[in-house]
Symmetry: D2
Subunit: 337 residues, 4 copies
């Protein structure tokens, strides 16, 4: 444990932060991470003496920390990331703070610093950390904006089809997405009380979820072409997105499958299933896989794509480790098996 | 209990049959139903001496049974309903045996008797038992085909909009529907083992579910205009359908709400919510309500409708009782509150 | 609805208060209750204009309210009950405020008013509202202290055996009890977050739960003779208590069953099962039944009793209605079927 | 993967077999196991060509398999283990076939071969595979009988106290144990249907569970001194046992804790918590830990011990790997972290 990359985690007490800490602690090329908390709340199983009220950049330098993970609310990440970069650290941010380049979408985060030169410059430098699409940029990035959990499932499902230019965007694309409760975070609310969730199911944030803009921006879609509806599942973790689209021309299942397989042939963390097999949430739980399956209607044009992943792994902490692996030239699988 | 309508139930041991028996037993205008089983399996709490191997039509006549409920697999209903009608009974069938008039959809049930004159005649007489749409026909029906659970949620959500002719059917209508496990029935299968369902979520029967044809036929849609995707929720009961469609012209929320309210103003078992309130499964559980809510995009054309109901009540046994109420001229609410 | 007993409920927004309001609203001999809130929080489905900040005794008199239900925390009940009684109302209190007569047990509630004359006098008048044991006293009571949910299950299981003097108390009695999450109330806490409860199970308050004293006092046990361990089940509602004891002499199952049947022969809300049948939580859910079953070891002396009930009905609101029925000379079953 | 111990697994498609296969596949000192099936059922993710109808001992020898895991029903293990030993293999059996030496307990398994010389000889050789108690015997064993899941939790909780001779056995020891559904296996039954388990909780096999004899035999208890009651939790996996006993003399918490710590000081897979901390199922899930906590009554004699573990890991497959580690002189932690 005495050798390996030195990292620190801010926000190790949230759901994503806990998973991240667990992954880093057993990663073969990384030392046990230094844990930093802004809330004072202590993670179960985290030695209290390893926490401190807020990061001191001098201390981190002294300790030779090279890489900082921010598992913090986006307002906090918005504040800390520029400071960390100025202090010479590389940063992987798990929040939505730096994911969006287009002002129209960024508005949804209600940042106070829209005119700040620093914020604009940092936004410019931030790389969207979806390893299957942006591996090269991630390798050299100073700041990686780790994608949203829902967004990861939808973008991985749609990117190969859009790139192959076989989607009739004019007919609209819909993602009906469902997530387990850990996606809502640890903060207490009536919505996450056991009695509100158990034996229940509901939709929320119709036409109005933050990942809407993130998905549209990454896929080059106009928001009017894309509808995203999140739902809350009565399970601890896991996401399933059911995605509806029309193909430009009649195709068969084999052609569609080739399109997915070509895109992900060397990507260890995407599994493509052959029709009629479909992914289920349970098969991706506690793994870093995004599983993709599809079904084509008899008319050869209506296509349903199903994407599953674990929102705390491929949708958050696992993807962050995958990004770290790319940043340091390691195998994408290191520490994730 | 000595007065009131005399009824009998075949299949009282299934999930729907149990609910139906419970409802009938406390219905103010009905005597405790005679229970008949074809499987020999005994319902918990049902006195065994009240069961018998198969219905004897003479016995039922002797006992002055007027109305027969079939909570049986469709193959069994296909066999029993004609016999019961011939014996002078009225019938409410909870299976899919008599729901479809169009041969193209009926094929999915793989009936062996497609050329039988009796079957064709009975099919002709069968009334689709959705009380909010067909009250008059139901009142005089000899055979009521009780709608499917998914179908009820989707048809009640779409019928007012299609009737008002404000839906752009050419752009397609999608229902992404989710159901609790009781919808799959009591038969044992790996799919309903606790370990398969708990902490999991999955889609099934893509482009291929029986309710697809039922919905299309009732709404006058071409199957190519309508996509229906069922999913299995890790909860005992409840359905939520998220329905996507495009309006022909730009509208506002108030106009859409008026459309729903006009349709269901005197209908006691449909509750229309004002936007932005949305139904959740838990609020319709253990009730006979179908709850409807909706959200219109800023563009005034993309509309999402959410429909919730309890698959064993409004989706099965409750709706059967509502149909019985109409058949005998009683209030639709009798025995359901 | 214009005739019938006039009642009011304080605390209609909690889990028990909601159930109580639902039961009263459909009780054939009671008018729709007036709802009073101290928290300002509004119950779903409760018209806001019917709430007010705190009860005005003059208003209640003017409205001819006769019976007041307190579904409030015990500190609030401790304050309101004496005022209500002074104002001439009868009171059913669902909290623990007035359940205990013995100072040793009452200490656990940390009341500030132990020396207050009023509190002492009111405590004296309070009747422990377990209908199967105290029906006569309840009928004439001014203040009924509705029993705790766990306590109801344990007392109903043990009272017949202790009364028959067949329990070897010197060898100790243990109740290993398990409750669904609604028993913990609606207040938000990390303990009731979905993620803390789902897929989990845990014990709490070992040797230290408030119902310990309540059970001991009602059964005349020394606390050293009785061990009570509550656990949190990952389900919304329901209690199962597994109770271990030794009989004074060897008996057989038939003798034990007779003991239970004798005790509950005319009691409509206790169901005694014959060995080897055992109650399960699901069969008592959404009912006012307490189900009792038992198993005797081959040695004829080790006895296990299993008791199940719905913590919000027989364990709270249902029992309150049963108490009201006794107070007004009605059938114990009125409004509860 | 070309070096390392060669193993085979019979029954890789059951819950324990799947976990075992997963653990072996990533164990640093073991090659990917050969999978053998007797049922023909194929495990998800298991290449079919690697299965075969029944083990051929010649083939296993040819392939240089040294260690055979039996994750089979006890009747099958009863048949296969003697054959495997005769063929020169070492065997770890996860069933109850070889756990019991005392005829009185073994009767519960209803073996047909009680008089067979081979069976008696093999029984004689079998070592009870609880690593924390029997490490030395396990190291040299030819046949390891892997303990039952419930039994592991109870024996680890009680062994230190009984060895220290501080338990008043005459007053009786009770284990009220609760298990997730995977403990019941993959076979379909009404009892494991999602609808039977969800929102429910129940006791079963009172005074009559197979692990009763196993626990009594291992701890040297008379069955009249020990009561064991299993319950079914509505969760996929995990066991919590709440164990009640009396100490011979008054003690304090520190003394009790010392007793546990002394017993498990060098045992990596038992974690002892200091009072008042108590284990919960979730903290042991997906780990090989057995977590122990306790609470002593004010009287200094009534003691409650809580034990938690994952029934598929420390209660089955994880313990089997831990036994393998001991048999081959490796660290007990290898392949389990």
């Amino acid at each position: 444990m005495a050798t390996g990359l030195k990292t620190a985690v801010v926000g190790a007490t949230g759901f994503s932060g806990e998973e991240l800490t667990r992954l880093l602690s057993r990663h073969p090329k990384v030392q046990a991470p230094m844990l930093l908390s802004r809330s004072g709340r202590q993670s179960e199983g985290v030695a209290p003496e390893r926490e401190q009220v807020s990061p001191s950049w001098d201390l981190l330098k002294q300790q030779k920390i090279e890489l900082l993970f921010l598992a913090t609310p986006h307002e906090v990440s918005r504040e800390l990331a520029p400071e960390a970069i100025a202090a010479g650290l590389r940063v992987i941010d798990l929040s939505g703070a730096w994911r969006l380049k287009q002002q129209q979408h960024r508005a949804i985060y209600e940042f106070k610093d829209e005119d700040s030169l620093t914020a604009a410059q940092v936004t410019e430098k931030a790389v969207y950390g979806l390893p299957e699409l942006n591996a090269e940029c991630i390798a050299g990035a100073r700041l990686v904006a780790n994608p949203g959990c829902y967004a990861t499932s939808v973008i991985l499902a749609l990117a190969p089809l859009l790139k192959a230019d076989i989607v009739d965007r004019s007919r609209g694309i819909i993602s009906d997405s469902k997530s387990g409760v850990s996606g809502a975070g640890k903060a207490l609310s009536a919505r996450t009380h056991f009695i509100s969730v158990a034996d229940n199911f509901s939709a929320y944030s119709l036409f109005n979820h933050r990942h809407n803009g993130e998905i549209a921006e990454q896929l080059g879609l106009d928001t009017s072409e894309f509808t995203f509806t999140p739902h809350l599942l009565p399970i601890p973790r896991g996401i399933l997105s059911t995605i509806y689209l029309y193909l430009k021309r009649k195709m068969n299942s084999a052609e569609v499958e080739v399109c997915f397989r070509d895109a992900y042939t060397d990507k260890p963390w995407v599994r493509v299933l052959s029709s009629p097999s479909l992914p289920e949430i349970r098969h991706s739980l506690h793994t870093n896989f995004c599983d993709l399956g599809f079904c084509l209607a008899d008319d050869g044009q209506r296509l349903i794509v199903i994407a599953c992943l674990d929102n705390l792994l491929k949708g958050a902490a696992g993807q962050a480790v995958q990004n770290m692996n790319l940043m340091y030239g390691w195998s994408e699988q290191d520490g994730l098996q």
